[in-house]
Symmetry: C2
Subunit: 141 residues, 2 copies
């Protein structure tokens, strides 16, 4: 979480403002790379990966791994969300792959329950609920 020193480079700045403009959206390393390349701005892939990892360390981004073999997803949470300590859960549909964001009081009960009864401190940023979404449930039957 604690960051080392960060030089204010052009690449870091434009990446940050791009990510900042998409709060709550899942973005992959390739998305970032492609976004800038499409504009004629080239940022090396290694730089993209290295900066993303830094942002995660700094708590500016969350990182999710949804499936093996596919890219990791990053999501801007910024300092504001972090400070407010808002809990955001994610549900991933195993059928259509849709990702659902939930901010729900009741789900926060899980955390409390796990902590008080099972002495386990849940990390909602890393936890993904797998299952099946509304649409797929209907189309299945």
């Amino acid at each position: 979480m604690a960051s080392g020193s960060n030089y204010k480079t052009k690449q870091r700045e434009i990446m940050l403002s791009y990510l900042e403009s998409r709060p709550g959206v899942h973005i992959t390393a390739a998305d970032v790379y492609d976004h800038f390349r499409a504009q004629g701005v080239t940022i090396g892939q290694s730089t993209v990966y290295r900066q993303l990892e830094k942002f995660v360390d700094e708590g500016i981004l969350n990182k999710y791994v949804l499936e093996s073999g596919s890219s990791a997803c990053f999501e801007y949470v910024g300092m504001s969300v972090h400070k407010k300590n808002e809990t955001c859960f994610h549900c991933k549909c195993e059928k259509c792959g849709k990702l659902i964001h939930l901010k729900c009081e009741e789900l926060e009960e899980i955390q409390k329950h796990l902590y008080s009864e099972h002495r386990f401190k849940l990390d909602p940023l890393r936890t993904v609920f797998y299952g099946m979404c509304d649409d797929c449930l209907e189309s299945k039957a």
Copy 2:
């Protein structure tokens, strides 16, 4: 979940009995491959991956993706658990890697809640709660 047809091959059988002998343990494709190669028994990697994927489809194994860049983990859950329809949740400690199994009534409330309020049908066999366990919480402070 429904399986296609499964031929009873030597590879499938020895893989199954190996996995069966390690219930509740996380095993990677490489673990399986190495285990047999160390015994002089060679199973092609593709076979390992293909069979593991089948076992997952059949509900015999759970599959977890812990981090990007590292291997997917498989865990034997077997038919017995499946038939009894017991709900078993898993908590994985992000620090020490320990895997905790929970059978808890209250956690089953999550399922009901997610279903009734968010129209999302949770799959407990695929879902892992990430966080920090008792021991690591203490040793951290």
